[in-house]
């Protein structure tokens, strides 16, 4: 598998580390145990296109949000994990 890092270009799988589903959002401070439980433990585990976090640790150390099909492994989109919007704001 190869991932097109938005910063570095296309790189081979070995440079990346997988974290998992990017859909769950960390609940805000003060969230209930149930909400945090859901965030930490429950997964849709989709067979098909899914958005997930990958870390380009063997390269530029950016966290990426990768849209990938779990049936075919085809990658349709990659963006910085913080989101393109957040990144532009940061600049």
């Amino acid at each position: 598998m190869r991932i097109v890092c938005p910063f570095c270009g296309e790189r081979e799988l070995g440079e990346f580390t997988y974290l998992g589903d990017a859909k769950p959002v960390r609940p805000a401070a003060g969230a209930s145990e149930d909400e945090v439980f859901d965030y930490v433990y429950l997964r849709d585990n989709v067979a098909g296109d899914t958005s997930e976090y990958w870390y380009h640790g063997g390269g530029c150390r950016a966290w990426l949000k990768v849209t990938r099909n779990t049936l075919t492994h085809e990658i349709s989109a990659v963006e910085p994990a913080a989101g393109v919007g957040a990144r532009q704001a940061a600049r």
């Binding site: 190869r2 799988l13 003060g30 145990e33 870390y55 492994h73």
Partner: protein, 993 residues
């Protein structure tokens, strides 16, 4: 010296008669020529019997001339380089080659195990599932060892492979598999268009079937066209042609695996060179021009030596000028098989008959028969008379029902061709059936890949050239190259007409899978017993699971299953195609990652200094760390370690702790950031101070710990444990980039920038005064416990000094830029000489941390909470932090959790061991009273006895209780007392003093 080869033609072939090569097969010496394979050289020398089959030990000869060979497997080379199951058909001949037949005893001709054939009525498919069950104990003792000895084929060397391997990457626009007409045409088109091209050919000569079948292309004989084409390709700097290289698999993102047999054509690799190289080829497009494989027809006795695929027979004759037989018959169901007759006649061989299963034969072939004076029999071969010396006679069932017999010493068989659909199907693709050629062809392919030529069922030369050329041009264009490709090479298409015939009924064993001895009746039996799915068929009979990967057997097997189960072939379907396309040496997949270079090695800045001191090193992750520094006369490591501990506790010592993860946390929000990742608060830490921190995972379990210092308002220096350095950095980057992108914070690993030493012991300050600039105030007031700041050292360099203590002594950690690490170690020795300074290793470090009750890896085991470790009070209730909520779940705050406690044996002389379990005193050990286990132990020179830490149920409430340490693995049982985990200086006066 004679190089007489009885079955070698006087002229012709692609062999170099001026380069005779000596080789040995089963101890007997022979000659062949440069350009031979082992198989062609054996053919040239009239060797027919080359191996024994897997189950029945039947005599077998050479069936094919390629990597699909099921029978002609040998042990190649000797000693440590012995390679089992090497296909003689792909082994390139070299001078001095040694090969031996396999799976026979005492010899190939007289094999005792051929007695198995007598039991063949019982040894049917799956027989072992129905028997060997009684008595139960006999399986491991008797039945299984016998089966294991009988099974298997060749013998591995059993000693370390002496050769080297490596791996490499390659990149191209267009990757082409195969150098037959299709592949060469594709390379021409893509190359001319300006694409970067890699062409892989598993053979050592380019040309594919052209080398055997010839033909006329662009008006030139095939050989001339090949040279002209190669000459043109050679002018293109971005076209790379790799021979002896098999493309074996396709992986995601256009990554392909290929194996290059760099030096297998030599007795051993030249110095500094590898035997084989694994390629990972990244290609934008791939053209599969892998051709097709001729398939056998299943009939009784079809495994007799001398029965050979028709295309293989003409390969031996045309390419190698070697004649497998003198008087041959052809058994075919298609037009292509006749080309073998043409080739054989051209080489002066005698044709005894052609048995054609089709109703009609073309007029051209009919006249060829009458000119050649041999009969054309319409029917099928139904039996073979012969044995280990080869075929003597074949029985033919004629179309009208009559029988005929033909005397021959060789039988060429053509059942049609199966396109090589492997590469196109490795992403679980299922090929589709084409009735006109009675074969499966690719139905789609992984992204970026396309098949062309015979691999798609286009068997004519003209079609191969035009398809290959077109595919090459399109691939180049898709990869962004629009140069002019010119015109495609042109040739005529041969006729290909086929009437499917899979299986001829008859008496005697008719083999579908030669190597695994799967017969037509085995398939019928499998169907009868309900194993009708092709996957069940494969698993029940082992069809297609041999080293030839079913290349000659799979389609015939499922065709027979279709027949007996009353389904069509496409309804029956294929099994899943799995890589690799040819078996690949495990050594090649490892490359240079073996022995000491299995993984990288990390060295501390003072490593070579420690080596000079005679340190013993220990592997900690990738690190080599000094474990202890033995001195002459010390009888064991315990003695050395005890000396180091005493030296620290009584004076001063130092230890390289550079392996700790070190991270610069910069930015205005650095403090706020740390507040969210640590359970305790860092934003209120004063500049110039250090604080111990604990971080949790989001599930509430302890992740890591370490001290973090504030060096400036917007600069913290964070340390992690050695083991977790990389993971913590990854976690912090996740927090920074994903969870809290609103914070202005920057992270950099500075683990390699700083050589860090722990200096500990009551004389630490004395030592430091020697080396630190006198202007620096090191007094308790000027540099209090948990102080942290930059200091100048004598001689002009700057260091970071932290007053932190892992040993419990008065201690500092000092960091200098890493290239001064060695100098620092030497200077510490110099500065501390008068105080008896002693370097200490990780063992002494461990002893002192246990004496002090500090937790480390064995306690931070991924299941312990802050409270388990006695650090529950550190959890701030005033802020959110990673793991806060989940840490509060009921089972994680339950009162009966196993918590860290100290232990000491009641018998002071008793040694403790980690991994012993804790059982209440007086009870019989069992799952219900297993209350915990010993995590860390050491001999404490300070207490003069073994001490340890343990995780014990309600341990903190049970201080003083005598419990039982139960260690059945080591046959030890003894009483220990649960105690305060801080064995040494519990009120901490020494480290503050």
């Amino acid at each position: 010296m004679t190089s007489f080869q009885e079955n070698r033609l006087e002229s012709g072939g692609l062999i170099d008669r001026s380069a005779p090569l000596n080789f040995r097969f089963d101890g007997k010496s022979f000659y062949g020529f440069q350009g031979d394979t082992l198989a062609s050289a054996l053919v040239a020398n009239g060797v027919k019997l080359v191996g024994r089959s897997f189950k029945y030990h039947r005599p077998r000869g050479i069936l094919t001339a390629g990597s699909e060979e099921p029978n002609a497997l040998v042990e190649l080379r000797t000693g440590a380089r012995r390679e089992p199951n090497t296909k003689a058909t792909t082994a390139e001949l070299y001078d001095g080659l040694e090969a031996a037949s396999q799976n026979r005893w005492p010899s190939l001709r007289f094999d005792v195990m051929s007695v198995n054939q007598l039991f063949s009525p019982i040894f049917v498919a799956g027989f072992y599932y129905k028997t060997f069950m009684w008595p139960a104990k006999f399986w491991e003792a008797i039945y299984e060892p016998a089966i294991r000895r009988a099974a298997g084929l060749g013998r591995a060397a059993g000693v370390a492979d002496p050769d080297r391997y490596d791996k490499a990457w390659a990149h191209c626009d267009v990757l082409i598999a195969g150098s037959g007409p299709t592949g060469l045409a594709a390379a021409l088109a893509a190359g001319r268009a300006g694409a970067r091209v890699i062409l892989c050919e598993e053979d050592f000569t380019l040309g594919g079937r052209l080398l055997s079948d010839g033909g006329t292309i662009d008006g030139l004989p095939a050989a001339e066209w090949i040279s002209r084409t190669l000459a043109e390709l050679a002018t293109m700097p971005d076209v790379r042609i790799m021979t002896r290289t098999t493309l074996f698999g396709v992986y995601d993102g256009g990554t392909y695996g290929a194996i290059e047999r760099v030096n297998d054509h030599l007795p051993s690799p030249p110095e500094h060179q590898v035997r084989q190289r694994l390629w990972r080829i990244v290609a934008k497009r791939c053209v599969v021009a892998a051709g097709a494989i001729e398939r056998p027809i299943v009939f009784a006795g079809n495994d007799t030596p001398g029965v050979m695929m028709a295309s293989a027979m003409r390969t031996y004759v045309a390419r190698y000028a070697a004649t497998p037989a003198k008087r041959i018959a052809l058994f075919t169901n298609n037009e292509d098989g006749w080309r073998t007759v043409e080739a054989a006649l051209g080489a002066g061989l005698q044709i005894a008959a052609v048995i054609d299963a089709r109703a009609d034969v073309s007029p051209a072939h009919r006249s060829l028969a009458s000119k050649g004076g041999f009969p054309v029999l319409h029917g099928a071969v139904s039996g073979v008379d012969g044995g280990k010396d080869g075929v003597r006679k074949i029985a033919v069932s004629l179309a009208g029902g009559a029988r005929a017999e033909v005397e021959v010493d060789g039988l060429a068989v053509s059942g049609g061709w199966n396109p090589a659909v492997g590469l196109t199907s490795y992403h679980r693709g299922r090929p589709k059936w084409r009735d006109d050629i009675a074969a499966f062809v690719p139905d789609g392919a992984p992204p970026g890949m396309v098949a062309a030529g015979a691999a798609t069922g286009a068997f004519g030369l003209g079609a191969c050239l035009s398809q290959g050329f077109a595919a090459g041009a399109v691939a180049a264009r898709d990869a962004g190259h629009n140069g002019k490709a010119g015109t495609a090479p042109i040739a005529d298409d041969e006729a290909f007409s086929l009437t499917p015939l899979w299986h001829v009924a008859g008496k005697g064993k008719a083999f579908v899978d030669y190597q695994h001895d799967v017969t037509a009746s085995d398939i019928e039996l499998a169907q009868r017993e309900g194993f009708e799915s092709v996957e069940h068929l494969k698993r029940y009979t082992t069809l297609g699971m041999a080293t030839d990967q079913g290349k000659t057997s799979n389609v015939a097997g499922l065709a027979i299953m279709a027949e007996v189960s009353g389904r069509s072939i496409p309804e029956t379907g294929t099994t899943i195609y799995r890589p690799p396309y040819v078996p690949v040496a495990i050594g090649a997949f490892a490359g240079h990652h073996r022995d000491e270079t299995f993984h990288a090695t990390r060295l501390t800045p003072s490593h070579h200094w420690a080596e000079e001191q005679g340190a013993v090193f220990v592997d900690t992750g990738l690190w080599k760390r000094a474990q202890w520094y033995p001195r002459a006369g010390e009888k064991d490591w315990l003695e050395s370690v005890a000396r180091e501990v005493k030296a620290v506790r009584g004076g001063v010592g130092f230890c390289d702790v550079s392996t700790l993860g070190k991270i610069d946390v910069h930015g205005p929000d650095a403090g706020a950031f740390l507040d969210r990742v640590y359970i305790n608060t860092f934003s209120n830490l004063a500049v110039g101070k250090a604080r111990y921190g604990l971080m949790l995972r989001e599930d509430g379990i302890v992740h890591d710990d370490g001290t973090t210092s504030r060096l400036a308002e917007d600069h913290y220096f964070l340390t992690t444990t050695t083991a977790k350095a990389g993971l913590v950095m990854q976690h912090l980057e996740f927090c920074r980039q994903v969870l809290f992108p609103e914070l202005d914070v920057q992270l950099t690993s500075v683990s390699d920038q700083w050589a860090q030493f722990s200096i500990a012991g009551p004389r630490t300050r004395d030592l430091l005064k020697e080396i630190v600039d006198p202007a620096e105030d090191l007094s308790n007031e000027g540099f209090p416990f948990m102080g942290a700041r930059e200091v100048a050292l004598r001689g002009g360099i700057k260091a970071r000094l932290f007053r932190i203590s892992f040993s419990g002594e008065m201690a500092f950690e000092i960091s200098v830029p890493a290239r001064f690490g060695q100098a620092m170690a030497r200077n510490l020795m110099l500065a501390g000489k008068q105080f008896g300074v002693t370097p200490y290793g990780t063992e002494a470090l461990g002893v002192m941390r246990i004496e002090k009750g500090h937790i480390a890896g064995p306690e931070l085991n991924g299941t312990t909470t802050a409270a388990d470790l006695g650090l529950g009070k550190m959890m701030s209730t005033k802020k959110d932090f990673i793991g806060r909520v989940m840490a509060g779940r009921e089972a994680l705050v339950a009162p009966d959790r196993q918590v860290v406690v100290g232990i000491k044996p009641t018998d002071k002389a008793r040694r403790l061991r980690s991994g012993a379990h804790i059982i209440p005193k007086g009870q019989t050990p069992g799952p219900d009273n297993d209350q915990g286990y010993v995590t860390s132990v050491c001999f404490s020179p300070t207490s003069d006895q073994w001490i340890g830490l343990a995780l014990v149920e309600r341990g903190r409430e049970r201080i003083g209780e005598i419990v039982h340490a139960h260690d059945p693995l080591r046959g030890e049982d003894y009483d220990v007392e649960l105690c305060n985990p801080v064995f040494y200086d519990p009120d901490g006066g020494r480290q503050r003093g």
